[in-house]
Symmetry: C2
Subunit: 241 residues, 2 copies
DNA sequence: GTCTATAGGCGGATAGAC
DNA sequence: GTCTATCCGCCTATAGAC
């Protein structure tokens, strides 16, 4: 039992030090960017010696991978929590809520957002282990569309003939129970959502858009409409598009 | 006259060396990213000594600024040239041609694209001198919408009441001769366009979208529709959206 | 405009003692 | 797990000779 306690204490200490390392690394991410993330600097700031960090993360890239997975999970959890709050609303409103949650997280964690959705870190390739965390928001959006589809509240966006083969391939991969028109529109809307957020975050909207919250809400609503969701509240405006 | 010739030769040499420095810097941008761009490494590769570069670029950031302006200009020129080719076509087709040109340039110059539209370089702030070059593609798109508006070929996207003040502010800034509905939709489409390109370029479409050219063409066409452009050829599909 | 030399830093990663 | 010591590399920027 005393050996159990010891092991437990060691495990706890390891978890705490690991968390401290990641916290400090996140701080440096904000200051210098992922490309310059340095184990040495992290160690210095924590009052450790650089070689000690290698017991926690075998290399700089492993630390980066941990930060990426944490960021995807934090974003995914934020989006899921926001969705839970409005899970009784109609699908279009749930869509908008998730979009706004993603934007809110991005504004609150700009450097982590850049880490996962910004330019790739040169010389670093994310391992497959990041995929589950990276998929969370996408799965949430698919779930909303699925609910709308089952409730017959989903219009089919247009799909030109030359895109149909690719649309069916994507559908088989991502959501075989949804129409190819929907899946294709979703993938496009997904990318466009991150375009809106990225432009705001990375300064492209400076001196262009001022009331960004309102602008974004409207853009997210139009994206919802684009994938076939029509909310009762916004039906009038959306139909006139 | 001999002094003129000498001065001319010196000026030419300066231009050539400046170009060589930027070319080598672009090569390193591709390899290591903007954050690690190093005057020393550039000098080494050119067979010069690092201190010599300071006669051409007073600091690393000035070199970066030159690369950014060059990238915006290269993109802008590519987009303008592509637009010239189809300037007789209807506005929707010209819109799509410009979008495809932007994507084509991005795929051909991924690291320069990341430099201007990717995550900001930590510690670097672009000076105002980059603005004119950065505006070229936007002005091109505004011009297409202006032609469509004057030709009465432009539908008004929906604009909710709470967005109208911001829409009118943006319109006064960007294109006072266009309807606020159009300008608002354009700004959103502009961001969404870069979202599509960024996702393809930065790997988010890996294992998701395969036939990216077709996918993009369709997405660009739907963006055209979203800003109010309806091409005769695509009228049927677009109207059913 | 280019050179050498120099100041004063920074980094990743490993070996071997404790 | 943490330490010291070490290898070997990198950087920005300047001074001063030519």
């Amino acid at each position: 039992m005393s050996s159990d306690t010891t092991r437990g204490a060691r495990a706890r200490a390891r978890i705490e030090v690991t968390a401290a390392i990641k916290d400090e690394a996140r701080r440096q991410l904000a200051a210098d960017g992922a490309a310059k993330l340095s184990l040495r600097a992290v160690a210095r700031e924590l009052g450790m010696v650089s070689s000690a960090l290698y017991r926690y993360f075998p290399s700089r890239d492993d630390l980066l991978t941990a930060l990426i997975i944490d960021a995807y999970d934090s974003l995914g959890q934020t989006a899921e929590a926001a969705h839970e709050e409005v899970v009784e609303a109609d699908p279009a409103q749930r869509w908008i809520a998730v979009c706004e949650a993603v934007r809110g997280w991005a504004l609150g964690h700009p450097h982590e957002y850049a880490l996962i959705y910004g330019s790739p870190v040169p010389g670093y390739t994310a391992p497959e282990t990041t995929v589950p965390a990276a998929s969370r928001v996408g799965l949430l959006l698919i779930g909303i569309l699925r609910d709308a589809h089952q409730g017959l509240g989903l219009a089919k966006p247009p799909l030109p003939a030359d895109l149909r083969p690719e649309a069916e391939r994507m559908t088989a991969d991502l959501a075989p129970d949804l129409p190819p028109e929907t899946v294709t529109a979703l993938v496009a809307a997904w990318a466009q959502l991150y375009g809106l957020i990225g432009f705001e975050l990375f300064g492209q909207f400076n001196r262009v858009v001022e009331d960004r919250t309102t602008f974004f809400r409207h853009a997210a609503a139009r994206l919802a409409h684009g994938v076939g969701l029509v909310s009762p509240q916004q039906g009038r405006a959306a139909k006139s598009a």
